[in-house]
Symmetry: C2
Subunit: 243 residues, 2 copies
DNA sequence: CGCTGGCTTGAGTAAATTCAACACACGTGG
DNA sequence: CCACGTGTGTTGAATTTACTCAAGCCAGCG
């Protein structure tokens, strides 16, 4: 925990190293970035649609999501984020936020001036490549979400969300399917899958009855990883992980 | 028509100029790119999920989509493309296709080696910036589609798709709301909105009855642009067009 | 002429939503 | 310590939305 305060870029560097072969100079250049640290509570808005943004946000601790809303107030979460994720890399090149950025747990964020990141991308090609890949994988995940929300039934949709989240958690070294605590309420799962919380509840109860999930107080565990993957039709190809 | 054969990069350059201030050297560098030309029929697969891709495709003429399918064969279109669009810019940095690339009309495509584009991005920062913006706007559109498919009802969803398409057509200088021919069948609209063709038909009949759309044989016209925008709750902010 | 592909219509069904309670854990203040 | 309020999860019944199945239509074209 404290190490993250001392080295806010540790998780980011770990992630980027999976995307491109950073050298010492690259790592130093990242660590030399100026930043502003923010400690925020759960459900806090970091940015709202329409805001002008000159910073990119890096999630250090806790969980966050990007979401959009309709006039009637309905919320659609379009992505979920873990520690080490860049939350709005698009502000590298786009000034106006096209979605909200909101925490789903208490969190620590670091804000990096977009201009400094832009310079880094141009002066350090390997970092540029890593960030390109990060942005393109981000887009690939959005495509999968369009499929998820557009064509899968409720049960499959929820199972797929959990599989994706679990896989990303594991890749980030933050947990394993067996012992793993879901940071999302059923309402968050509903807003991420385009369902109502009530229907999410029913589907998850059914999955628990089928032995796929397991609950212990507030903690949700994946009881049958292979079964959940099968129920989701989950294929991690779209995450473009380096095997 | 013939001019596009002589200058396959014309529309792309026109588009990139809206994203970053290209100079003559930039334009020449783009025109100097090696390419392979393909003429394909409607419904042709240019690339399939899982394929290894070493080229990026540029759409010269006709219309295309990116789509993903479930095991049961259900298809979800995740994006629609016009002449001048780069269809799979992600192969700039990612080797394996995570979705299918398919035409929805007879089309002409130009394939550009991804490595050459990658070099261009590094050596010509302005082109790099334009392509970054293009990729980030692409991602922004995916986010809007997640919202569209996840939270809007059928009628609003279809109306929104038409508004977006119309706006992009107009920005690309390919048509106006008043006189504009939809290249999509109702089945394509269904696969793009996560609905069934039959339900799309019913909703579009209703919109026609309400005077929003108009049909003349095979041609679909937008009869009431303001009304359609209202029905869609369409706000073009997410397209990040330069005003 | 008779296909073919796209569009249209109707009736019955399935999936997910809405509305309305209720349960339960947790934290706060009395 | 308990009472209470809040946020989250749970359950049931009625309703809405969209889907499925099954035809039929209609224009363009070989």
């Amino acid at each position: 925990m404290d190490s993250k305060v001392d080295d806010p870029f540790g998780r980011l560097i770990r992630k980027l190293e999976l995307l491109a072969p950073l050298d010492d100079a690259d790592r130093d250049a990242i660590r030399a970035l100026p930043f502003r640290r923010r400690v925020v509570s759960s459900q806090a808005f970091l940015l709202r649609e329409g805001d002008t943004a000159t910073d990119c946000s890096l999630l250090i601790e806790g969980y966050a999501c990007r979401n959009k809303t309709l006039n009637d107030g309905a919320r659609q979460i379009v992505s979920l984020h873990l520690p080490g994720d860049l939350l709005d890399l698009q502000h590298l090149m786009l000034q106006v936020a096209d979605h909200n950025l909101q925490t789903i747990s208490p969190a620590i964020i670091v804000c990096i001036p977009a201009g400094r990141l832009r310079t880094l991308v141009q002066e350090r090609p390997t970092i540029g490549q890593a960030l390109w890949r990060d942005a393109l994988i981000d887009a690939s995940i959005f495509r999968e979400w369009v499929l998820n929300v557009g064509r899968r039934g409720a049960r499959m949709r929820i199972a797929h969300l959990l599989c994706e989240f679990m896989t990303r958690v594991e890749t980030a070294g933050l947990g394993t399917p067996e012992h793993f605590h879901l940071p999302m309420t059923q309402e968050v799962i509903a807003d991420a899958t385009g369902l109502t919380p009530i229907h999410v509840n029913r589907m998850m109860s059914a999955m628990r009855a089928d032995g796929l999930l397991d609950r212990n107080g507030r903690e949700l565990r994946i009881a049958n990883w292979a079964g959940l993957r099968a129920a989701a039709g989950f294929d991690p190809l779209y995450l473009h992980q380096i095997g």
